[in-house]
Every structure is written in structure tokens, then in C-alpha cells.
């Protein structure tokens, strides 16, 4: 297994080196996509710009309907842009047909050909391109070994489990040896345990083969654990673009703050904080009134402290290593995460506090981060 993986790395890299474009950077410049003519409906993708460095994994993350799939399909060339340009490896491919963009894609539904065997499915594209049969067999067996499909090559897709089908779809993408691989929610049909497993496998594969990968998901955990770079989308625009830790530690907006992390970050109007405000006020960004500020705090950085703001315990979720305490500060929900198993009952009154350094400042109206 290790040896096979090593072989594929070297061969993959060699093939890349032979191509005219050794770099497989993906770049979008102010790309927009509008479905239909209706001006009342906003564009599905709205002036999106980002760049994914070679051999890294970027996750396109966002809630349902925010334009992730559309963006991915624009990169693949399955849809045409309304405006803007797409570059792969420094080459403008905006009007290049999909087949000549040197990308492979794993579809959410896997898109396996039901009448072809696993082997035929994997080498479908190689056959199209007229690769000689020994070379085809060689690539097939390398991929099959790598993905643990060697025993299943003669089966039809309908005779495979979800995870196996997923690996066949991956296999088809790997043998293409395309420098860029696009994936549209490839794990969404799998059960929780298999997802965790496949997540690791995909990430490991991407690193071994040095692929540039654009990975669509609506699961923030998947994005956080796999990606080098997270592109958080919201209503067709990029809300924030950065490494996972940056999105977690310095969310650029309330939307990011609440989308990344479980439980979501607590966001409280500054006016609701009562006595706690005195301590925080000196660190407040200048030029903003108290009623124009929202304050964000991660659940694990808040603590129960008698000199904090008063809250009422609503529910207690015991998770094993720690416990989530669901409270209300006035009407505002606030979750505190505590280690172990605190002795609390619902309905009890507590006081919550946190350090100035744990405070995120947001503009209460725009939801953007201040400072």
C-alpha cells in the first residue's frame, strides 16, 4: 500500500512536470453567474474572487443555496460565466471547453456509469483519450491498490456500498492525473463513521498526489479538518477566505463567527451585558457607541463567575469530556462550555464572565468585525 502510494506520487509528479503548465493554481477573478434574465433574482455567484495555491486543498463552504456548486461547475466549465475570468495554472480558461481544462471532478451523486464495471468506469476517460491499453491497465491497478478496490474491479456500481462507489468515483478522478480535482459534496451520502474515514483518505490522497483540490461542502467540520484554505460563501459572495484557524480565531463577520465552530459563537448586544460592560468598555474599539456594538465570545472561553452578567440556565448537555450549558442573558441565548460535569440544574441563575482578550467586536448593524 505504501509502496503503491509512493509510486503514484512520483509518477503523478512526473506527468505534471512534463505538461506545459507545471503550476496548477486555480484563480477566479470577479466571477459572476446569473441564472436567467430576471433582475429581481440576484446572481447565484456574485463577483467572486479567490485563488487556490498549487497542491493545496480549498474548501468551498456555506449554507445550502449559497452558490458553492455553481462556483465549482464554473471552474469545471460545465456552466458558462456571466462575467469575470477563470485561470487554471495561469492560463485563462474562461472560454475553454471542460475537457481541455485539465480538471477531474467527483460528483455528489458519483455519476458512475451503471452498465460498466468498476474497472471500465475508472478507465473511461483514459479510453476516450485513446491511451494505450498497457498504460491504462497500469494506472488502473495503481489506483485500485491505493483505494482498496482491487477485489471489486469486475463488479457493477449497483453491487457496491456507498463508500465503495465513492472510491470508484475518486479512482476515476485519480487516473486522469489531472492537476486539479474538483469535488462536490462527495461524502454527503455516507454514514458518519465512513465520512470520517473517507475525509482522512481524501486528504491523504490529495497530499500524496500533490493535487490542487477544490472541495465543496456545507459541513463546517469537514472544511475545518481537511482544508488548507476555507472559502466561506454566503448568498453568492465570499464572506471570508483564509486558513481554518483564521476563520475560527478572527471571524470577519457575525455570519462567519456563527457558521464556524460547534456550538456557534455567542453573539450578544453590548447593551445586554449589565455589570460586565464596565470591565470590557476600556477595550472597546473607539468611535462606536455601546448600542452599535455586538460582542462575540466562544463558548469554551466563557466561564461561570460571580462578578459576571446574570443568566438563567435553560438546559444542560453533557458530552462526556465537557458539558454545554445553554443559558439566556435576558432574551439572548448564550452557551457556555465547561470541562467535566458541573453541578447545575436548569432554571438556576448563574453569572457568566470572560476575559477581554476573548472578546470579538462586531458592528451591530453591518455584522462586520471591528478591529
Amino acid at each position: 500500500m505504501r509502496a503503491a502510494a509512493y509510486m503514484i506520487v512520483t509518477s503523478g509528479r512526473q506527468d505534471l512536470a512534463h505538461g506545459e503548465e507545471p503550476l496548477a493554481e486555480v484563480e477566479l477573478r470577479s466571477v459572476s453567474k446569473r441564472w436567467g434574465e430576471d433582475r429581481a433574482v440576484g446572481p447565484a455567484v456574485d463577483h467572486v474572487s479567490f485563488s487556490v495555491r498549487e497542491a493545496t486543498l480549498a474548501a468551498l463552504l456555506g449554507p445550502s443555496g449559497c452558490g458553492k456548486s455553481t462556483t465549482l461547475r464554473l471552474v469545471a466549465g460545465l456552466e458558462t460565466v456571466t462575467s469575470g475570468s477563470i485561470l487554471i495554472g495561469g492560463r485563462d480558461v474562461t472560454s475553454v471547453p471542460p475537457a481541455r481544462r485539465k480538471v477531474s471532478m467527483v460528483f455528489q451523486s458519483y455519476a458512475l456509469f451503471p452498465h460498466l464495471s468498476v474497472a471500465e468506469n475508472i478507465v473511461f476517460g483514459l479510453k476516450v483519450r485513446g491511451l494505450p491499453s498497457p498504460e491504462r491497465a497500469q494506472r488502473l491497478h495503481r489506483a485500485a491498490d491505493l483505494l482498496g478496490l482491487a477485489k471489486l474491479l469486475d463488479r457493477k456500481p449497483s453491487q457496491l456500498s456507498g463508500g465503495q462507489q465513492q472510491r470508484v468515483a475518486l479512482g476515476r478522478a485519480i487516473v486522469a492525473e489531472a492537476p486539479v480535482c474538483l469535488m462536490d459534496e462527495p461524502l454527503s451520502n455516507l454514514d458518519a463513521q465512513l465520512r470520517v474515514e473517507m475525509r482522512r483518505e481524501i486528504r491523504a490522497l490529495q497530499q500524496r498526489l500533490g493535487m490542487t483540490m477544490l472541495y465543496v461542502t456545507h459541513d463546517q467540520l469537514e472544511a475545518m479538518t481537511m482544508a488548507d484554505q476555507v472559502l466561506l460563501m454566503r448568498q453568492g459572495s465570499i464572506e471570508q477566505d483564509g486558513p481554518p484557524c483564521e476563520l475560527y480565531d478572527r471571524p470577519a463577520s457575525v455570519f462567519t463567527a456563527r457558521f464556524i465552530g460547534t456550538p456557534p459563537m455567542n453573539v450578544v448586544p453590548a447593551t445586554a451585558l449589565g455589570p460586565l460592560w464596565q470591565g470590557l468598555a476600556r477595550a472597546a474599539p473607539p468611535g462606536h457607541g455601546r448600542d452599535a456594538l455586538s460582542i462575540g465570545v466562544r463558548a469554551e472561553l466563557a466561564r461561570l463567575d460571580s462578578c459576571g452578567v446574570e443568566a438563567k440556565v435553560l438546559a444542560i448537555e453533557y458530552l462526556g469530556a465537557d458539558t454545554l450549558i445553554d443559558t439566556r442573558i435576558g432574551e439572548v441565548p448564550f452557551v457556555v462550555r465547561m470541562p467535566g460535569r458541573p453541578r447545575l440544574v436548569s432554571g438556576q441563575n448563574v453569572a457568566i464572565a470572560w476575559d477581554v482578550s476573548a472578546t470579538h467586536w462586531f458592528d451591530a448593524h453591518t455584522g462586520r468585525r471591528i478591529a
Binding site: 469545471a76 460545465l78 471542460p98 471532478m105 455519476a111 451503471p114 452498465h115 473511461f124
Partner: protein, 307 residues
């Protein structure tokens, strides 16, 4: 509770025959459909089979058992052989062309999403129209002097020609009408099957660099095999039971040039009132069709590697 004596075999049989109320209900529910089926399908089929071994009853003498005499007469009848030849030519002319056209149109329509319902409707019209009406429309196309075809030809300086009145072209003319009618019908099946194929398969193929033709040959066509089998069996059966537009357009003429098997049966039975001969020919046709359908199932089922 008293201990029950072991039931004798006879009692067991009686018990299983004695109808429980559920079985009675089941039979009652089946009864209407069964009656109709027996009355109008099974009984006529059986009666035809029996009649084919008897002479045609005449006012003076009733039907007498004649054994295979009716079948021997069929073999000796040159018009039967002509009708059979015509029918084979008609089948060879209609089946591949109508299926090919249907497939082509379905793929073409399926590739173009806009206006799909409207186009589908247009193709479906020939199927909805009664064959008698269709035949009348085509009769006008083919009419010499003022028919559509004649007018078109004369516009290009061609001479008027009696398409349906000539032994050389009459069969071709009725074949074209059948193709026109069948192709639209079969297309609906192909279109429905094509829309079952996930669009992502096409996209995956495009990304892999497959041409339209390659995708059709290697993916769409194999996935359509079950539909093709279904359509093929229908096409064969339809080719051998065509009668309505023959009656309207040519009445089997000129000189039996367009006489097909079913038309010959109709002619024997209702023009010459030789019902026994008609019954025997019906049995020949039925046996032939049954054999073809069976052969197609056995032969093609093995090649359809779907699922």
C-alpha cells in the same frame, strides 16, 4: 377443550377447498375482469383455433371437420405468399427506420431542454390521431394531380405520378405512413428513458473529453437497451397487425401489391366470408408473432447487461 382427532387426508383436502370468506372476496373481485377477458379474448382465440379445423358453414350444409385442409389451402394460395412477402418487406421497411428515427429524435429533443414539452407534444400527435384520419391526410399527400406531393413535384417541373395506384410504389407509400406514425410513438418511450439517465453522467463524460457520439454509443445506447427491446417487440407486432390505413388508402391493391397478412385475413373473412380460411390464417399469424416475441426475449434479454 376436547382433543381433536388427527384429520384424515380427505378432510384436509375438503378443508382446503372449502372457501374461506377472503378467497370468495378475491374471486368476486377478479370476476368482472376475468369475465371480460374470457368472453372477448380467451374464448374467441380458442374458437378461432377450433374453427380453423372445420369447413366454413354454408346455409345448405353446416361446418364439418376437415382437419388441416384449411392450412393446406393457405399454403396453396399465391395471394397468401404475396401478402407474407409484402408484410416482410413492410416490416423490414418500418421497424429499423422507425426505431432509428425515434432514437435520433429522442436524443435530439433530450439535448435541448427549452420547449421540450411542446416538441414532445408535436411528436406525439401522430399517435393520438386515429389511423383512419392519418390515412386520409396521407391520401391527400399522395393523390395524383392535386395532391401535396404532386403539386410539389410539378413546382419543380416533375410529372404527376399515381403513387398509390402503381404496383412499384404503393407498398413504399404505406410503409412511409407507418414509419411516420410509429416513430413519434416510440420516441416518447426513448425520451422517457433518456430522462431517467442522470445528467451528471453526461457531465462526467464531457469532463473526460468524450464526444457526443462516444457518449451516445458507450453510455446512452447501452442504457436504453431495455427500452429498445420493448420498442422492438412492439414494432414487430405492429408491423404484422397493420390494417387500418391499408383499408383506407389502397384496399390491398393495386393487384395485391399492398396486401398485408391482417388485411388478407380481413379480406378472407369479411369480403369473401370464408371464415374458416380466415381462422386458419389468424392461427398462422398468431403462432408466428408468438414465436418472434419469444425469440426476441430469449435472445436480447441475455445481452441487456443493465443492473
Amino acid at each position: 377443550m376436547r382433543t381433536e382427532a388427527p384429520a384424515t387426508p380427505l378432510e384436509l383436502v375438503a378443508r382446503s377447498i372449502r372457501p374461506s370468506s377472503t378467497t370468495v372476496h378475491a374471486w368476486l373481485l377478479l370476476l368482472p375482469a376475468m369475465t371480460l377477458l374470457a368472453l372477448f379474448t380467451h374464448w374467441p382465440a380458442l374458437a378461432t383455433f377450433i374453427d380453423s379445423f372445420f369447413s366454413t358453414p354454408r346455409p345448405k350444409r353446416g361446418a364439418t371437420f376437415v382437419g388441416l385442409e384449411n392450412y393446406r389451402q393457405i399454403v396453396d394460395d399465391p395471394i397468401f405468399w404475396q401478402a407474407l412477402t409484402n408484410n416482410l418487406l413492410f416490416a423490414i421497411g418500418t421497424i429499423p427506420v422507425s426505431i432509428g428515427l425515434a432514437l435520433l429524435m429522442a436524443v435530439w429533443v433530450n439535448d435541448r431542454i427549452a420547449g421540450r414539452t411542446l416538441v414532445r407534444m408535436a411528436y406525439f400527435t401522430p399517435t393520438v390521431l386515429p389511423m383512419i384520419a392519418v390515412a386520409n391526410i396521407w391520401l391527400f399527400f399522395y393523390t395524383p394531380q392535386y395532391g401535396l406531393l404532386a403539386q410539389l413535384l410539378s413546382a419543380f417541373g416533375g410529372a404527376s405520378y399515381n403513387w398509390l395506384g402503381s404496383k412499384d410504389t404503393a407498398l413504399l407509400c404505406v410503409t412511409i405512413v407507418a414509419v411516420w406514425k410509429e416513430a413519434g410513438f416510440f420516441m416518447i418511450f426513448y425520451l422517457a428513458a433518456l430522462q431517467q439517465i442522470a445528467p451528471s453522467l453526461g457531465e462526467a463524460a464531457v469532463l473526460e473529453g468524450a464526444s457526443r457520439w462516444y457518449f451516445f454509443r458507450r453510455v446512452q445506447f447501452p442504457l436504453l437497451m431495455p427500452t429498445t427491446l420493448f420498442v422492438l417487440i412492439n414494432a414487430v407486432i405492429n408491423a404484422f397487425r397493420t390494417v387500418d390505413h391499408i383499408i383506407v388508402m389502397t384496399r390491398g391493391g393495386p393487384d395485391n401489391a399492398t396486401s398485408l397478412l391482417l388485411f388478407r385475413i380481413y379480406e378472407l373473412g369479411f369480403a369473401f366470408w370464408d371464415t374458416s380460411a380466415a381462422a386458419a390464417l389468424t392461427m398462422v399469424l398468431l403462432t408466428g408473432l408468438g414465436a418472434i416475441a419469444l425469440a426476441q426475449y430469449i435472445f436480447l434479454e441475455r445481452r441487456i447487461h443493465y443492473r
